[in-house]
């Protein structure tokens, strides 16, 4: 298709929108509501361009490009209109950037800079809203909301949760849970995809940095930290480094510098999870237990199931998530071994996830009224913590994780990407069923960013059927198919966030999918180079069982490493 942009003739692919044509040609037009891969909503109007033929302003995100189209992207008219729109947004905005979580990292602020807005053009009465701090994971500040609607769309169209929507009319419109209730009483599953996509400070994670710093400064406390498998391949982005770099050693060194007494890798308990989960799967298959078994690592998925699919609760593996297993072994095995009073341990975890904050506070996760995990930080919060302590990652020498959980298999590391749990579990289940490792540890059918992946594997005559799902919208599809009897599996891996933990709600806000792919590739590279590819071969895991748990599924293991879930009534 031949089009003319700003007087220059260029080519555009057939069937694209104007915005897509401009992006192809490397011309940037700002947008606030556009979501790649979803139908355009046309809400923000910032992306308007001027039709050169008649001076009409057209929304480029939703309008298809046409043959012979002539447009101006940065004409005086278009720029003036865009600036007015930004000024209108600012007019009803708290104007408190200095105190905002998103200061220097805000799309509205960027636009204000782009359009050189240097004075308050309107002097309105601003909407007066309360901050919703009811959720353990997400903080909602409607005053900062520009109603781009991306959170609503991600919640409904990607996650199929629909916890929030537009309410009220006109200038009083806002985004809120049903009946303007607070998040904690809504169907919100705390996945944080809305937080990750919010252009302003209207949706942020509940910040736990202050709690962690207080604990670090408490001489009575032994502060330990665990970091999730996704962390080492994504943290670098928060410091302006290229996506997909594995900085595990440097990160460990930084955490020690901050003052954490012990630094553990959650990938270790990912291995532990595999031991328990593979054992549970083999057990369910052999004893005719409830199938399909569904993974339990993703806390947003757990709440989703409790709320929308309670009939599947018995299908969910009883294994705690790696975070909670690590929390449990720290305050039991580790405490015993080090001869520390568990109540003196302050256990921190760094997760790519906001729902982990919710998980850590679940009543089921308390033992004798004490939480196994005391504070959960997101990847973004960790970056702030590192900055707060004046640590320059570039000048640190890599360090190793602490014992007794120092070793991890690359199978445990794969947990960070969609399909990783399944791949790790299949490797170990194969061993448990046959006494042998599979010929090739890599299961390519489980790899990549696709939302739904299926596997059919012959393990000594047992045709193991499995599905790997990421995003709760896809989870709905698979569960509905299972419910209707249209699909049959032994094992389903469900990750709440599209692509798995590497694209979690607590991760660096990535504007493009390419960064997520780079993080995923980094995981595969780690597995490729690893000499330890099987959870059951992890020597620290073997030792943990020998010294403590005896065998997977033992009484002790059940006490510390397993849990239960229950139905949630939305209307309560």
């Amino acid at each position: 298709m031949n089009i003319e942009v700003n007087g220059k003739k260029i080519q555009a692919s057939d069937g694209v929108t104007i915005l897509e044509a401009l992006t192809e040609a490397g011309i940037k037009v700002p947008t606030l509501c556009h979501m790649k891969g979803l139908p355009p909503s046309g809400a923000c109007r910032i992306c308007i361009v001027e039709n050169a033929e008649n001076g009409v302003l057209i929304p480029s995100c939703s309008f298809p490009a046409w043959e012979g189209m002539k447009i101006f992207t940065h004409s005086q008219k278009a720029l003036a209109a865009r600036k007015t729109i930004v000024e209108l947004l600012l007019a009803n905005h708290p104007d408190d950037c200095l105190y905002c979580d998103r200061n220097n990292n805000c799309e509205l602020q960027d636009l204000a800079v782009e359009f050189d807005v240097r004075k308050r053009k309107y002097s309105p009465t601003k909407n007066n809203y309360h901050i919703d701090s009811s959720s353990p994971a997400i903080l909602r500040d409607p005053a900062k909301c520009i109603l781009c609607g991306k959170c609503v769309r991600v919640c409904e169209e990607i996650q199929a949760v629909s916890a929030i929507d537009f309410v009220r009319r006109g200038s009083r419109s806002m985004i809120a849970p049903a009946f303007c209730e607070s998040l904690n009483t809504s169907s919100c599953v705390n996945c944080g995809q809305c937080v990750a996509i919010c252009p302003t400070g209207a949706l942020v994670e509940r910040n736990s940095i202050a709690d962690v710093i207080n604990a670090l400064n408490d001489p009575e406390k032994i502060v330990v930290i665990q970091h999730a498998p996704a962390l080492s391949v994504s943290l670098a982005e928060e410091f302006g480094l290229d996506a997909g770099q594995d900085i595990i050693g440097v990160m460990t060194a930084a955490l020690r510098k901050i003052g954490f007494d012990k630094v553990f890798d959650t990938s270790f308990t990912a291995d532990l999870t595999i031991m328990e989960e593979a054992n549970e799967l083999v057990d369910r298959i052999k004893t005719g237990g409830k199938l399909p078994m569904i993974t339990s690592c993703s806390p947003a998925w757990i709440k989703f199931a409790e709320t929308f699919y309670p009939e599947f609760i018995d299908n969910i593996s009883t294994c705690r998530s790696p975070q909670q297993m690590m929390g449990a072994v720290i305050k039991s095995y580790f405490a015993q071994k080090q001869n520390i009073d568990p109540s003196k341990i302050y256990s921190v975890s760094v997760m790519p996830c906001t729902a982990k904050k919710f998980e850590a506070a679940r009543p089921e996760m308390l033992r004798n009224g004490v939480a196994d995990i005391d504070a959960v930080l997101t990847t973004r919060e960790l970056a702030k913590l590192i900055t707060r302590f004046g640590i320059d990652l570039k000048n640190l020498n890599p360090e190793e994780a602490d014992t007794p959980f120092g070793t991890r298999s690359s199978a445990g590391k794969l947990f960070a990407g969609s399909g990783g749990v399944m791949e790790a579990a299949v490797r170990t289940a194969h061993f448990m069923l046959t006494g042998k490792n599979p010929g090739n540890p890599v299961i390519s059918a489980l790899r990549g960013l696709e939302g739904i992946k299926e596997l059919s594997l012959d393990i000594n005559g047992l045709i193991l059927k499995a599905a790997v799902v990421s995003s709760l919208g896809n989870a709905r599809k698979i569960l509905d198919a299972v419910k209707k009897g249209e699909a049959q599996y032994h094992f389903i891996e469900i990750m709440s966030c599209p692509g798995g933990c590497i694209n979690g709600g607590g991760q660096p806000r990535s504007v493009n999918k390419e960064n997520v792919i780079k993080r995923l590739k980094a995981l595969y590279a780690i597995d490729e180079e690893s000499e330890l590819k099987y959870s059951h071969e992890n020597p620290d895991i073997v030792r943990l069982y020998n010294e403590y748990f005896k065998k997977p599924g033992s009484h002790m293991a059940h006490e510390l490493l397993h849990t239960h879930y229950g139905k949630r009534d939305l209307l309560k």
Partner: protein
């Protein structure tokens, strides 16, 4: 086919029924048989055996007390041992004359009486049945082919309200029994559907409508036939037809009156439209605030289904059309077609970007045609009289008639239908009778919140889609509010902006945020100086400077029609009444005396007798003075409530 049903206007009674249609309908035990001319005469009330009393019982009639009138009539008949049929009809259009009561006795024409509230019933009936037609109550008599006219009673068709009108859409309104499908058929109803289904294929139906020149009466004015063709040519197993009856403009009530008065006409129009575009499923999206109209529709649908005029195998053909009524929850934006579709789908009523247009991908992603009530009720006429006849009326670009809801500062308010090309002045002065109490006409707001004001200097403009645009107004759906010299145009702009900023769906930024800011600027303009800091005055001026530019950005960048036209009331009043704005801004004066903060009340010392009434009524004790001596208002204390002016028996209080 006998054409005289349409001739000139509806006051010439009787219609022609299609014998072929009756033959088809008789298969479904329809009570009117093809050869039963007698029955048709009875149904059209050309022949009656006992008196018939018609009561205007549309929403406007009911509001004026039609129910009480009916009770009184029943009581009168019972007390006097008289037999008469009582019939509730819709609104004939002249709402200001409601409750309307028509009386017809055997052999004589039907006579219409105005403002017959309950207490007037006895004297009216006493007089009428003793042969006197009370002159002060009579509105006029109907024409009839078979009955004798009354002497010295004017014909309704010559009444100044009705004479300039051309009633096509409203042909049956207020005249027929809206519950009676037999009467509708006897007056020529469903003959058009029969013609379309049996003599035309769908393509021809679209061609005929396109040829007629009919354009969308909902406001946009898109050629209806052309729109139908978009959907007709789409390849989809499922297509939808939606009737937009979500009439939300302040001062607009055309759809309500048409549905209440002649529901079968809408169903007939919709069925023809559905056949043309190939839709097997239709929706009527109507506001829940129209309970009577909804009731009438349900009733009409049931009857139409019973006689095979709706549902499966309509009129014995293989064409199926099912209708569902969907009630709107009162959001103005749901009159916008994409928001309306979202609402039907069970989503929040928020517009979607276009393209894709509904005709390509509409309701549930299927090709969908959305027409408003007036557009669809025009369809039977086109097939009854032919496209050429239809297009022979109107202007070169705007064919046929247009219905307006005439309201505001005008002597005769109500529903009027005029031929396109009639001047606004004729509507306001000839039909409406001009402004009451000798006040001077200032402007007419046409097209509701999306429209504009037309000042006296432009009142000779012809009603025509294109011409209205040249003066900054739009045809709109038909709201026409007349304003006199006591109306402040800044206040008018403020009223509409307040309406719009409340009714914006909140989706797109310019409409959601911009209309609120515009309202604030207008509010500041109408604020007094009292108690304001210099900074506030400065901000007021700053707002005024940005007002026009902001209004234009809202118009050029908003997502849907609501936002794109949201600033029209401001731009249009600015265009024609800039002096009034300037007077408010620079002199802080409102010469219409509407903007309270800008009014200063004073007492004329020559007129004041010192009766102290005003001082006693003043809620803030701002009036001083001894009894029997002239009083004085303390400006700083006065809140300009106007109490003193309204109570002064000597007209001594004045404003400046």
């Amino acid at each position: 086919m006998n054409n005289n049903i349409i001739e000139n206007n509806c006051w010439k009674e009787a219609g022609s029924v299609s014998p072929e249609l009756l033959k088809e309908l008789s298969k479904k035990q329809f009570s009117v048989k093809p050869d039963d001319a007698e029955m048709i005469k009875r149904l059209t009330r050309e022949k009656i055996d006992r008196p018939v009393i018609y009561i205007g019982a549309g929403t406007c009639g009911l509001g004026a007390g039609a129910k009480a009138t009916r009770k009184q009539i029943e009581k009168y008949l019972a007390d006097n041992n008289m037999n008469a049929d009582i019939l509730e009809v819709g609104c004939i259009g002249l709402c200001s004359a409601e409750p309307l009561v028509d009386i017809q006795i055997p052999g004589k024409t039907r006579v219409s009486f105005k403002n017959i509230t309950a207490e007037k019933v006895a004297s009216l009936l006493d007089n009428f049945f003793s042969g006197n037609i009370p002159e002060d109550k009579v509105l006029g008599q109907f024409h009839s082919q078979s009955s004798a006219p009354w002497d010295n009673v004017p014909f309704l068709s010559q009444h100044p309200f009705f004479a300039p009108q051309k009633r096509w859409v409203l042909i049956n309104c207020g005249i027929v029994d809206p519950l009676n499908i037999e009467e509708y058929v006897s007056r020529g109803g469903y003959a058009s559907l029969f013609t379309a289904l049996t003599k035309n294929n769908p393509t021809e139906v679209c061609d005929i409508v396109e040829k007629s020149g009919l354009r969308g009466r909902g406001g946009g004015g898109f050629p209806t036939g052309k729109k139908w063709k978009f959907a007709a040519s789409g390849k989809s197993e499922q297509k939808y037809l939606i009737c937009n009856a979500d009439e939300g403009d302040p001062g607009a009530f055309m759809d309500r009156a048409v549905i209440e008065g002649d529901p079968f006409r809408l169903l007939e129009g919709m069925t023809i439209a559905a056949y043309g575009i190939g839709a097997s499923k239709g929706y009527i999206y109507i506001r829940a605030e129209y309970p009577l109209a909804i009731e009438r529709l349900y009733h009409a649908m049931e009857k139409a289904k019973k006689y095979g005029l709706l549902g499966h195998n309509i009129l014995g053909t293989d064409f199926n059309f099912d209708l569902t009524i969907k009630m709107g929850a009162g959001a103005f934006v749901c009159g916008e077609e994409t928001a309306l579709m979202n609402s039907i789908e069970g989503k929040r009523g928020m517009p979607r970007p276009r393209p894709p247009y509904p005709a390509v991908s509409g309701l549930f992603g299927k090709p969908t045609i959305i027409n408003n009530v007036e557009t669809l009720t025009n369809i039977p006429m086109i097939f009854f009289k032919g496209a050429d006849y239809f297009s022979s009326f109107g202007t070169p670009t705007s064919k046929g008639t247009k219905v307006f809801a005439l309201s505001g500062k005008v002597s005769r308010t109500g529903l009027v239908e005029i031929e396109m090309g009639t001047t606004l002045r004729d509507i306001v002065f000839k039909i409406g009778g001009g402004c009451p109490n000798g006040k001077k006409y200032k402007a007419a707001q046409i097209g509701g919140p999306s429209g504009g004001c037309i000042p006296d200097s432009q009142a000779d403009i012809e009603i025509d889609y294109e011409k209205l645009k040249t003066v900054g107004a739009i045809m709109g759906s038909g709201g026409l509010v007349v304003m006199d010299e006591n109306t402040c145009m800044v206040d008018v702009a403020k009223f509409f902006m307040d309406f719009i900023q409340r009714e914006s769906c909140g989706k797109c930024i310019p409409c959601r945020e911009g209309t609120k800011r515009l309202l604030e600027i207008l509010e500041n303009i109408t604020k007094g100086r009292k108690g304001k800091s210099e900074e506030e005055s400065l901000l007021r001026m700053q707002g005024i400077i940005t007002m026009e530019q902001l209004a234009r950005v809202i118009g050029s960048t908003s997502l849907c029609g609501l936002g794109q036209t949201a600033s029209n009331p401001v731009l249009s009043t600015l265009r024609w009444f800039r002096n009034e704005y300037e007077e408010h801004i620079f002199d802080r004066h409102c010469s219409a005396g509407v903007c309270k903060e800008l009014i200063e009340y004073s007492i004329d010392e020559h007129k004041c007798k010192g009766c102290t009434l005003c001082a006693r009524k003043c809620p803030v004790s701002a009036i001083m003075g001894k009894a029997k001596t002239p009083h004085y208002i303390i400006p700083d204390k006065c809140i300009a409530c106007g109490q003193c002016k309204s109570v002064c028996p000597f007209d001594a209080v004045f404003t400046k």
